[in-house]
Amino acid sequence: MRRTTAALALGTAATMIATGCSAVSGGDDGTVTLNMVESLTNPTRTDLLDDLIADFEEQNPKIDVNLISPPTEQADQKLQQMLQSGTGVDVLEVRDITVGPWSTNGWLYDMKKDLKGWDGWQAMTENTVSAAEDSGGRTYYVPYGFYGLSLFYRTDLIEEAGFDKPPATWDELLEQASAVHDPGERRYGYAFRGAANANSNVTAVVGAYVADKIDPANAFKVKDGSTIFAAPEAQDAVETYFRLYEQASPDSSVSWGYPEMVEGFSNGSTAFLLQDPEVIAAVRESQAISEEQWSTAPLLTGPSGKTVQPLATAGWGVADAGEHKAEAVKLVKFLSQGEASLTFTKENSLVPTQKSAAEDEFYTSGPWATYVTMTEHPETYLNVTQPRGVAWWTEWEQKADADVQKVLLGKMTPKELLAEWDAYWTEKWAKEK
């Protein structure tokens, strides 16, 4: 009796451990199961992916796709753990900020050869094709869309303030936002980004001011190899930008991150907002402002009339440790072209990767038209790549955000900030060599 019990207990333990550790693999009938892991998860997007995957499975009856959706906050860490263990991932979401470290660690598969001669490339915008390749000419992911800034503005408020069109330059933005700003009436000019990711808007304004001499392959460098922060134009750029905080933004925007900015614009209190296209959906749902009260305008230019579009991106890649690479690449191709890609960018509020989007009613009208305008005028809205793939990118963002807050709190001058940032990148690049 006791022996039986002991055996049973041991057996149970063994089973639990064994089931916990075994990976799901293919069935006996030649069906292949792909594990696909997403990173920027949200419920609607997961549903959308499920639909697209269902279409893929219908076209490929021998392939089953198992979509894994960890919560966004921990998704990249989960993915890292899975990649490190070398099991359980075939297709995965790779971001411009994760591709660097993950490829260095040998976790990603270079799809270059598999995608040679693929007709999908022809249908893609130039941005997409160039973003699909890293500096060494390898293809670790195919972008599914882009996150890029445009200016959300209140048509009624600027009209009341006496302007007949939205600002085109940073100086004009400062002028219009200051004119609208009236904190006593709880009306604010500009939704200033002071908290998480505050650095991104500072680099955007600096980029606009140095657009004439920027290095498109590394948007933190000018063509002579020094940092954009050391350029004389950068000084004007940050001064204009921080004046926007002093003259036209709520005092507490030192602690404004994404949610406060979007709330400020969509609750009708703030006239200007610089944000990604996904905000379009949020503003459309606003009870406080109607469709006629707002619109979008292209990214603001510097004094030269040009600006840079630092597009952030992510896409689908294949894990190096995966056993079914051919099938995995097939899925990546499926998601990256045609109707699947268009549906994904539309429903997920992304700047599209497909050329055909320029003729699509969805993108040519309303707030989306701005993105098409920017894509169609690459001489004004320069396509540049920020060094988001470097190993120290998160460290940089954290440091830069704190520095921006120091300036806002009066603990650092804009000049010191530029000097700090110049020193930071110069040192990092020197070490890299």
């Binding site: 009796m1 006791r2 019990t5 002991a6 055996a7 207990a9 041991l10 149970t12 333990a13 639990m16 451990i17 890292q80 490190q84 660097g100 470290p101 260095t104 660690n105 040998g106 709880r186 604010y188 002071g194 908290a195 998480a196 709520p250 005092d251 507490s252 925007s253 030192v254 602690s255 991150g257 406060e260 709330e263 400020g264 609750n267 209190s269 190993a391 120290w392 998160t394 460290e395 954290q398 955000d401 704190a402 807050q405 120091k406 806002l408 709190l409 603990k411």
Partner: protein
Amino acid sequence: MPAASPTKQPHEPRTRRPFRTGGGGRPAHRGAPRRGRPVFTTRRGLTIAAFMAPAALFVAVFTYYPMIAGSQMAFRNWKLSDLTDKSFVGLQNFRDVFADPAWGTVLSNTAVWVVASIVPQLVIGFALALWLRRRFRFRGLYQALIFFPWAISGFLIGILFRWMFNSEFGVVNDLLQRAGIIDEPVTWLADPDTAMAAVIVANVWYGVTFFAIMILAALQSVPDELYEAAALDGAGKVRTLFQITIPYIRTTLALTVLLRIIWIFNFPDLIFGMTGGGPNNETHIVTTWMIQITQQGDYGRASAIGLLIVASLLVFAVFFLLATREKSEKKSAKKGERS
């Protein structure tokens, strides 16, 4: 299983064993305490081991292994950005932690965070418990309402309070302005000092509950006779509180305070949701700082901080327990002398 013991009789006391007892054939008295200890035969030992194995294995695999693996990371160059070089670096990670200019702020913030949170939590929690102990209409409902915050995730509370303390759209400024206490909106989360105050207010709101629960449970164990006797002796409310209630529940109080100190120390969720450690990294406590470094991918340095936290909490817990035990033992020794 029951069928296996045919000799078992319905009203046999427990001493009659599932286990063979050491007392040999000594007759068991009804209601007598269990005599002797179970003998550990190899077979029984194995059975016990087998039953414990699954749990032990899980604890080993999911608790101890990560802990040990994590600790050795602290002595290595363990950066997610490049795992091809995980060489041993000795105490370098610890030196980096101490050399970080933010470390001083982080430490003093942690002290402020713990002390300024625990004192109001204890006082308000105690008061609530005293109040909830009395019988009144809808007491159950009030109890449920007061205990409710404990069921909410810290991160969520952080986000809720982030909106409440929002200077332009938040309810806190609105109320203060309507009440005429302030003229201009306070930029709560934008100023490092008020931001720290705001996160502490949120934490007090959250933690009061736990004290109320624990103290209420302890209060219910204080015999009414003591209060009756005190009343007969003419003791007032304050005197009863300090000479009967508090001494009687001292152990619970000490343990609750200890637990809460450790938990508050290890409670980054709220700060993360509310300020993210900002502005200018001035509301970081040790644990939020550790998370920030994890996000940079520097697991080596983050583990070093983790080890420092474990070590300091261990030392603290030992001292705290010794200090509080000594007091109560002295007390009971005194009582002994008197009687």
